[in-house]
Structure formats: C-alpha cells, structure tokens
Chain length 417, copies 4
C-alpha cells in the first residue's frame, strides 16, 4: 500500500499518464516499444500499461498477445546465423554480445523489463498461468513458455526463496490463501484451519519470494507424532488427543500443495521438505523419523486398466499398491505414479503401504483407500536420489518388497504388468 | 547465523562431506559435473565446494578457472547451427528447447546452480568483481562477463530491490559498510557518520537485494536545506546549524556511492534518486526542489589538455566548468564528464555551477574546486531524458547557458573546443 | 512459546518443583509466604504455584481465597496508628518507610510479586474479573478491589499502552479475539470480519499492553466516509460501494469495545479515540470530521418509565432522543445515558440524532431504532471537557437543541422530566 | 519520531499550548493542579509543561520543586487518623477508599499522571537520578524517594521487562549507550565494542522496558570459553584466538553494568544473569558451567585497614582475597564486599580466586590484581540463596575454603578479623 502511494505521488509529480486509455498504440505495439525503449523512465510507464491492459483482456485477446510474443518477438534465424559466423571468424566481446542478443528472443527482454514495474512479478506469474491454460496445444506458445520458464528458473532460484512458518499467529490474508490452495486434504473452514495450525504438534511451512511477500508459493503441512501413522482420518480427527511437540519422534508431511499455477515445473517441493526436516530436527532433537503420508493417485486407474479387482481385502489392496508403486513404470523407466515419482526422485524410501488409510470419497476412488509413507532418511537421501536418477532403482523397505512379491505370486495371475 | 546453523545440522544429518579436500576432482571438473548433475542434492554439495575453493584461490588459479568457463563452457557453434536448422525445418517446443540449450553457454546454467547454495549470491557478485579485475583485456573473459552481466540483470532486476532508509538506528554492521563504501566524500569516523545520519535534516537511503540482506548495493546521502547549497564543506561542516526537516524546501543528494564492484554496469542509481525523491516528497510536502551537489571529476584534466589556465578567478572557473559540462562531448555525442553523463541521462537539468565549492585536496585537483547542481524537476525528467537519449540535447538553466557562452567569448580564445 | 520453552528448560535445570501438588501448604499459606519470601527465586516458584492453583479453583474456593486477601492481608489499624505517631514525632526516611509499609495492605505487595511470574499480568487481569463477578456485594471484597484497581492504574498507565492498527493482515489469533470481543455490532463470521477490515475505507485500532501482547485491551472500528452517516445498517451493508480512503472527509467511530472484564474502570476509551483521530488525520489530511455513530442504550427504558409512547414517527423519536440525551440526568447531574456520559465527558459534541438508524432487534428494543453522532471537534474538545467536568454543561449542535425544545413543547405534555 | 509527529499534529489540531511560557502559574502550582485536574485532557498539557520546565531547571530550582513534593504533597496525618477511625467504625468500600487516599501522599498520584505524557517514563527516571543526587542528606527528600522507588518497583516489575540480545547487528544508537554505560571494563572505541560483540564466542544481553525502548536498563557481557578463565586481560585480549560457540563449555559473565542512575535499588541483575543462563543453555546445550569473572572492589581497602601487606606473592594475595570474601562481614552479617554480596545473595558459589587476574591500574588499586569467579550452579542456586538469606551461610568451593584457612594460619597473624 505504501508502495502504491509512493508510485501515485511520484507519478502525480512526474505527470506521467497512468490509465491504459491514453496511449493510442495497441498492446503489441507497446510491447515492441518497451523492448526498444531506452532507459527506465518511459519503460516503467509502458510496462505498467501493458500489465494493466493484459489484466483486462479476454482469453482471445490474451491468445493474440501471446501469439505476438511467440512469433513477432521470436529470434530471427538469419540474424543468429550471421552473428554466429561473425563470432566464429572473430571471437571477442563485441561479436559475442551480438550473437547473444541475436540468439535470445526479444520476448525475454520484454519479460525482464515488465518485471521492473512494482508488483509485476506476481502479475507475470499469473500471465504464465494464462499461457499454460490457453497455449497447451500450440507449439509456438510452447516455445514461448520455455522462455518464460527459463526466466522464472532464474528469478525463483532456490537461493532467493524464503522459508516461513505458517501458524495461527500468521496474518489472516496469508491464511486465507492456505485455505484456498490446500489441494490434497481440503480445509473446510477457519476452525478446520486452526486445528491444523494451532496445536503444538502441528506445523506448516511455506516458501515465499521476496517480490511476492503475500503469496505462498508452496506449503507443507506437518503432524508431529509418536510412531508412523497409517490413516489420514485419524491424523486429522477433530477429537484426537494431541501430544506435546517435544515428545514426538516422527514428523509426518501429510500434505504438500503448490499455490501458483504460473510456477508449474519450477520445482521447490524437494527443497521444501528437506529444509523443513532440517528446521524441525534443530528445534526438536527428539525427532528421528521424517516421513510422508501420501496418496496413491493412480492406483485404481491402473488396476482398472489391468482388469484387476481391488476390493476391500486389506492384504490384497496393500500388495497391489506395493506392486504398483514399485514395479509399474512409465516408458522412461520412472514410476507411473506421480507422487511416487516426486518423492522417490527426491531420494525418499518407499516405506510402508496402508490399506484403509484414506476413507474419503476421493481416497476410495483413486486408491481404494490405500496410502503410503515415503521415508526421508537424511543419511541415505543423496545416495537414493543418485540411484534413482541414474538407474531408476527404487529404495523400498523389505516389508514393501515382500508385499509386492506377494502381489506377483497371488494377485496378478490374471495379467502381466 | 540461523541459516548457517541450519545448514550445519542438516549436513551433519545428511553426512555430506563439507570440506573441499574430500573431492579428488579439480574445480573445473566439479563445475562440469555441477552442470550435468541431475537434481538439487548433489548440486548443493558441488556448488558449495566450488564456491569454497574459489574463495581460497590465488589470482592465477582464478584466471585459470575463468578460462575454463570462457572456453570449455562456452556454447558450441556447430551445435547451435545444427539445432537452428532442426528448428527451422520443424519449429516446435522440442526443437526450440534444443536450440535454446545450444545457444546458451553452459556457464550460465553453472552460475544459476551455484546460486542455489545458501548465501551464494554475494559470493557470485564477488566472483564477478574478480573477473572484472583480472579479465580486462581478455576478449574471451569479456564474453564470459557479458553472460554474467546478463544473469545479474535478471537477478538484480529493479523489481527485486528493496529501498531502506539508513539511520543512526540502523544496525552497526550495515553502518560500518556505509563508512567503508562512501566513495565521494569520505566518512572519517563513527562520529562523522553520526553527523550525516542523526540530525533530522540528514537522510540516507540504500538499495538492498533480499538475498544479500547485509550488503547495501548503492546508497545516497541527502541533506535537507533551505535553498540550494553551493559548497560541500559548508554542507558538512561540524558546527553547522541544523534545521527541522519540516522547514526544508530542498533535498540535496550530495553523495551517491556504489558498494559492489561486482555489480558494475548493473545500474540502480537512476531508480534510487527517483525513488528517494518520491519517498521524501511524500513525507515532507514542503520539499519543492530536488537537486544534487556533484563533483566535476574531469574538469581540470580537460583544461590541461586544452592548455587552458584555470586559476582561482571564480568567474573564469564557473564559465569554464559550464562550458565543459555543456559542450565537451565524447565521440558518441554524450557528455565527456561521467557524472554529468549519469545525471543528464537520468533527465536532470544542469542547474548551477559553483566555484570554490569543494576546497578539499581532491576537489581542487579534479575541478579547481568547482561543483555543480543537477536539478531533478520531476515534471520534466521524462522529457529531458527522452531528448538526451534521442538527440543528445542537454537541459540547462539560462544561468549555466550564459556562463558557457561567456566562456566561449572570453576564456577559450587560446584554443577551440 | 519461546518464553515457555525458556522457563521449562530453566526450571528443569534448576530442578524447581513445578506442579501444585508438591507443596503441602494451602494457597492462602503460599500467599502469606510469598509476601514474606526474601528474594526472587523462591518467589517465582511460589507465585507460579499460586496462579496455577487459582486457575483451577471453583468459585467457592476463589471466594475463600479473596476473603483471605481481604481480611488476613488487610492493613492493621493499630500498626498504622503506631507508625503514624512515630513518624509525627520523628519524621524521617525510616519512620516514613515504616508508615508506608503499615498503611499499605500486604495484598498489594502480593499482587506485585505475583506479577513477576512470566505471563502473570493477563492471569491477574482475569483474577480481577473473577473478583468483580464474585464480590459484588461484599464490602471487604470491594475494598480489595480498590487495591487491585489502584495497582492496575499504575500498570496500565496510558504511557505504557501501545496503539496498533488491526487489519486483515493481522495475526489470526488476534483477529479471533476481535470477533469474540466486539460488543456493539456483533461480527458474524470471518467474512463479516474481513468486510470490516480489508476495504481501504475501513480501519480498526486497538490498545495493547506490552506484557499481554496477544490480548487487545480495547478496540475501535472506523469507517471512512463522505459525509456523516445516519444508519448503521447502511454503513455495514454487505453490498455497499466503498470509496478510496483518500477521498473520505469523515471518520466514523462506529463501535468501541472493551475486551477485558478484569480492566473495568481502568479507562482507555478516551485516549483511544483521540489517538486514532490524530493518527488518521496525519495519514489522511482530507479528513475534516471525526464523529461517532453511537447507540442510545437507555432511551426506551426511560420513555417507558415516563409513560411516553415512542412509536415509529421519526420526528417524535428524534425529539425524544435529543431531549433524553440533553436533559435527562443522574442524581449527580451527569447524563443518564452511559454512552452519552462517556463521549460528552471526553469533550465531544452532541451532533445529530437519527431515527431509523439501527433497525436490528437490539436497536429497536433499546432506542426505537434511534442512534446519535457525537462529534470530536479537536479544537473544542478540551474546552467542552472542562465545561462538562465543572458545570455539567453539554455541548450540542443547534439542531439537537431544537429537537429537544420541540420535545418539551410537543411530546412531553404527559409528564415532567 | 513518529510518536513526536503524532503529538505535534494532534496538538496543532487541538490548539493546545505547548511552550512552558504560556502558563503563568509556577511549576509547583502546576503540580498541584495536575493532581486535581479532572480527566486526561488538561492533564496531558499540565504534565508536559511540568516535565519540560523541570528539564530546564537549575539544581536549586529542582531542590525547591522536590521540596514542594516532599512537604506540601505529603500525606496529612490528621486526615489519615480521621479516615482510619471512620474505617474502623464502619469498614466498607467507601471508608476504605477514603483511608487509602489519605494514607497515600498526593505526589504518588502526581507521578502517575506525569507518566501519562508520551515518553515521560524516561524523564521520570532522570528526575529520580536528580533527586538521589540532590537529596542525599535530607530526610524529607529521602521519604519522597521511597515513594518514587515504590512506584518504580511497580512500573519496572520484572514481568514488564524484555530481554534483548545486543550484537554487532544492533542499532548504533543502542550500541553507543553500551559504550557509554559500561562501568566495569571500559570500552575504548567502536572497534573495541566490535571485539566484544561480533565474535561467535561473545554475547551481550540487556533488559529494556517497553516505555523506554531506546534505553538499556542493565546489560551483561558474556564470553563463551573452554574452561573457567582466570584473567580479564587474557579474556579481552585483542589478539586472542576465538572459538566456535558450539565448542564452548563455559559461559563467563565478565561485566554487568547498570545504565540508569534513576533506577538505583530497583534491582534486575539477579534476573538478568539467570535469564541469560537459561537462554544460552537452550541455544548451546554444550554449556555446562555458568560463572562470573568478577572484581573484588574492597580488598585492598580492607587489607589497608587491617594493616596487612598485600604484595605480589600470588599465594598470599589469593589467600587474603578468599578470607576477605568468605569471612569479612558487615554488621548485619552479610559480606562486606558489594559484588560478593550481590552474587552470593543470588545463590552463586564462591568458586575460585585468581591472583594477577586484572592488571589494569584499577584492578591493582582495588584488589592487588585479584579477581574471583562466582559459579551459578543452577541446580543449587535456590538452596544457596535460601541459606544465605536465612543464616548468612556462604557456599564456597573447597579450594576457596582452603585458601581462606591458609590465610588464617599464615597471613593474619598480625591481627584478628
């Protein structure tokens, strides 16, 4: 708000036009001008105009704007080729600069200049959300998205993110976003939220970017427990008995939610879990086990494909889930289940499979109620990660391996994997 | 400190090697491995190792390391050419991605991955300072620097910077940096610093980057006065009579200092002055005039070249200074004086020239004691900037124009401009 | 939380008993011991024990505990008389000290020593709330309360209170207290709360005491408007059109709520309104009028007593309300209406009476829907206060005076005031 | 500063007179009026006037002002006697109130009302410093001081104080006060200060009161060491080798300084050491020993009185120091040495005596270079305190006891204790 006030005063004094109406050029022309504009002053005005206009556009207009970026603001192959030859024949600072300029599409500079406008970062993240929504099948928009993703990887570099605890003492305007963004186990109300934040055996942490201080990027909810839990309903029960945090031996990451559609594929989840584990183990030396309680979103889709019945026999459910997580792969050799892919790729161990662990409608539908613990053994995480990345090897407990073997013996007779 | 503790604990638990000794590979090999490393985990370890080793290198070793980045981690022209052809024949997301990857030197990705290490940003800024110091005449290192400059423009985007007032209530570890970095009018002691910060008619503001919270990037010192001052010694006099801030009509930017050699050419000074003017005019509505009291670093060098005597006749000094600032240009048509170039490029007006304004040794030596006020008339700044950028036109007060004309008439007879 | 951790650790290390069970003495005996205890160390332990035990007491036990304070820990008249004589015959530091000690009941020192326990201040405020609830008709408990009130006046001295804005960015655990404590126009839900906090034309401010940082003491809700509003339902309407704060000319204090029953008669409301008016006028120079929109809680009770019909004729309602506020007094000559007493005592002006201004059930019941604006004309507040305090004079607008006169002429014929 | 602005604006709007000149009454008359003034509004004005005038008074005027408080604003014995009789014949709330009012000198209410003025608390602390300085021998001023001390005990109740770490990252305006107030081992310069704050094995903590946020009340400097040190010069040596805080097993409280002359006898040192010990043991679990390195200010004065030579034989010095600390008492049976009295009264143990431990001029002069460690064994502190308070027993290590015995045998032959 102060920042807004400041801009207002400043602009009033500078008598700079503020409203989109007062520039006769199209937004596309403004974008071209911004890339050409010399210096920051008119750049600020142009950038603000473009962002304001974009926010008011219909989907069709947005598509058109993106099209301009994708085509007219792409690099020019001829210019690249010519600059490349110059550089090869006379490699030096000037020829290198010319090549670098030629090989980078102007739209990248456009995004950087837009980002100089106060509060632009969040607006650009939203712009990418629009792009992902509207551009799915258009190869040129796909290329445009690569450029933006490239920039965002730089801007949202792990080194720039800030980890903040979220508690019942956090500002309400942040908390309402936690309610809105929780994607795994929906938060029903402010009272429900309080139950997840206020008890001493509950924690929540989020990554923030300094240029978007009011917007969590991703957050994780944690339960501190004695022993590894096997049911999400029990864990979140309204009338559960809490424990004193200092008595917990286990930290359960029971929900991880990305908040910004426009930051898809700019991954922080990996860092988040490990950083939170580090923070918690510093605060609570009694914590020995860091584990998730995770959904198995693709289980029943796979059993259906395979024509495997998955009824409420817990042993069968467990065995099929273990087999699915351990053995069912994508063409590239990585696990088919996306949540498994995420945690195993981070170096976690497939620790335990629970039947009857999520009896919500969604839980029954996606995994016949099964859930899984991924274990973050900090001493082994690096080696597991390496193995997974190079050979696709999955670290799993003997128990899960045995269940998977049992599945092969007894429950898959009807079909091969 | 907390962050350090965290990493320590985390590393202890992860049993990751910390010290440079325990990896047999050379730093160059580590850099290659980091760019290839899949995932964040080993990346953190590699990145930290590289930064720690670099910090301990001799200049020769640093030169060698930069050489590796400049040559082995450059882009490969053949790969660019081939990816370009693929893209042209089949433009799409995948071919675009391949081209973008080929056209960007691997050292850029190296820098981004190094930057994921906690506190790396400051270390990378220092690394560039080394590069600028060591690489001046080497065209390949010049090209390397272009890449780093390109990345830093993204990371230190104006939208990510934070303006903070610096006062006598600021932390001592920040203040000692203000003492160290003041480049225009040296701060002699903590008492001298206090005289520039504590009175209500003195202000100081600095830009910070969230990833380097303890390091000012650039700062400006401001005096609040009644009327435009014409002498720096009077302005900074120990026994001056202060005024109440609310009574001031003029804000004098009497010193602007860049703090980070590694951020050369990543300019913020422009934004800083305008943002501070905006802040101050909001807080103190009585302020009507925003003006600098600036040195003229190149004046005597120019008079010497021209064989012009510049003695202590104030009229002559003033006239020659006005002429020098207004008429003496570089080959590209821009002012030869670097400070003039900076402020006039920002849209300021050449307002008044003072003889006998800086009687320090340095002031006498560089400009025969003359100084100049550049006026930031916020209503005209945009138009002045535009004129300067397009036609090289310099906005100057009638007074300065008259002085310059007088110089032409009376004091340049001995030689042409 | 940190503070709690600290005490825990410290106590563990000091092997001090924590639980109430481990001291065989009664709470009354502990209280006597605490007043006698030499030094802080055992005092901390005793104090904590007493506060913990008190929190677990039944009302009967609390009454008994208060009885001990009221009687056994009262001053001793004989000791006072003897010390007084000593002092008179030999006035000096030592005899004065003895007199002062004799004349102050030991329970005052007890309260001070209890207050050294971390977080005790809030517990003692709650203790007084119990005392007020349980001790109403007991003269000895009344005397005890005088002592506590005396101490609280010192501890909650205006100079120690901190004014903080409450906004939608405030911590949730503070906001839930705002919901709970709003006593004038109940807040129905978090959404309702947001409507009162988030728009730029809505503000809220509370006083806090540094020793109870999570507990607002009193808060005021403010609407920024153009012109003086005459209906609370319109002001709080869900679908009202907001304005930009900078366009407002009027600040309406539409609700003031005390939060702590245990701070009854320790008045801050007066300071709160004036401080908030000062803050707002600094931030928004466009504000010219500071006014309340207040209930008239005693109106229909009075008309009923007087046998006056008060139907829905707005003119009649307004006239009777004006007369009631202006002319109906307590035996001590001050206004009978408690809200009128508060604001007029603060130096406000009886500005305007509105019929049909509060159509809630409560509003109809207590005042036939009428409300009143008290105007805080900062230039006149001191003089009004003085007049009210010395002669009981009420400052009122000509409009209200006219309405009251009309009441006398037309609507009171049935009875004298 | 903001607060000042606020008052300014508010006052401007309220058109309240600010300057002392505009009230014809004497300060004494203003004080009488303030106690009588009904309500806060004129009270604020009167209070400010009184404080402003007091600040400008000469010592003689201050003495006169204090005399007024001591005599004219004392209680009235006749009124006390009469109120006491009323209360005895009819004990109740009203008669109790009358008695309490009669028995409390009006000057207490005066101080409370003065304290409502913004920033008054610090001014009143300074006022008491003046009183202590000017009133030493006047019994009536002594009685006045008792009243103020009584009030300050309430205002500066331990429960209201805030412990803050002081570091090289603390605000400069706080640090300059640390330099100014260090009373035990003077801080020579900002560099010297940095050496005591910046290394990870150095800490400093201070108590603050929320109403005086820029003024430390008392602070303690701590060195983290391996083993118990026996020389202050070694501990503070410029070229000492630091250790990593985590490796320390001992925390040495080597300097405790009171900052406010006006808070004499309002003791916090006791709480400070224990709270800091608790904080440090939480942060650094490796710390096992909490110990002081303290001066023995009265040693050579005592040996001189006793006619005992105290030369540079370290054994003799140690023995005499041990005997002095353990056996030489005031008439009331407590240790004659004030520092010993403080720490032993807090429950510390007389741990070790070092000869040649403070070779500064002051150290040689007061104790022939000897210093002493007082050990805070948190498990024994309560019991030691109790023993000291009830029987005067001093807890001492066998080593110190042996040294004292040796003194008796060998070095005191010339005289009895």
């Amino acid at each position: 708000m102060l920042a807004d006030l400041l801009s207002t005063v400043f602009e009033r004094r500078m008598r700079v036009a503020r409203t989109p109406e007062d520039d006769a050029r199209s937004t596309q022309e403004l974008a071209d001008a911004l890339v050409g504009a010399d210096g920051e002053i008119s750049g600020q005005r142009l950038g603000r105009l473009i962002l304001e206009r974009f926010a008011g556009m219909s989907d069709d207009e947005k598509r058109e704007f993106f099209g301009h970026l994708a085509h007219a603001m792409n690099f020019d192959p001829e210019a690249v080729r010519s600059a490349l030859e110059d550089y090869e024949s006379n490699p030096g600072r000037a020829t290198y600069a010319r090549f670098a300029r030629a090989a980078e599409p102007k739209r990248q500079e456009l995004m950087r200049r837009l980002n100089r406008v106060p509060h632009a970062t969040g607006a650009l993240v939203d712009m990418r959300a629009d792009l992902l929504r509207l551009g799915e099948d258009d190869p040129a928009l796909g290329a445009l998205d690569l450029d933006i993703q490239h920039l965002f990887s730089s801007w949202f570099n792990r080194g720039f993110l800030v980890l903040r605890p979220i508690s019942w003492e956090s500002p309400a305007h942040i908390l309402e976003k936690i309610i809105a963004y929780e994607a795994v186990h929906a938060i029903q109300s402010w009272d429900d939220l309080r139950r997840r934040l206020e008890p001493t055996d509950r924690r929540c942490f989020a990554f923030f970017h300094p240029a978007m201080p009011d917007e969590p990027l991703i957050f994780v909810e944690v339960a501190l427990t004695q022993g590894v839990p096997g049911s999400i309903q029990t864990l979140l029960s309204e009338d559960r008995e809490g424990i004193v945090a200092q008595e917990a031996d286990t930290a359960v990451f029971y929900s991880i939610s990305n908040c910004q559609a426009g930051l898809a594929k700019i991954s922080f989840g990996n860092s988040l879990i490990k950083q939170v584990a580090a923070d918690l183990s510093l605060e609570l030396p009694g914590l020995k086990t860091f584990v998730t309680l995770s959904p198995i979103p693709g289980l029943t889709a796979w059993t259906a494909e395979r024509g495997l019945a998955i009824d409420d026999d817990p042993v069968r459910v467990q065995a099929l889930a273990a087999y699915y997580l351990l053995e069912v792969k994508r063409p590239n050799g990585k696990p088919r289940d996306p949540v498994a892919h995420f945690h195993l790729g981070n170096g976690a161990i497939l620790h335990r499979v629970h039947a009857g662990a999520d009896l919500s409608e969604k839980g029954i539908a996606q995994s016949a109620g099964a859930m899984v613990n991924y274990l973050y053994d900090l001493a082994a995480v690096s080696q597991n990660h390496e193995g997974f990345a190079t050979t696709g090897a999955i670290a799993a407990s003997p128990e899960v391996q045995a269940a998977s073997t049992a599945a092969k013996k007894h429950f898959l007779e009807d079909a091969g994997p």
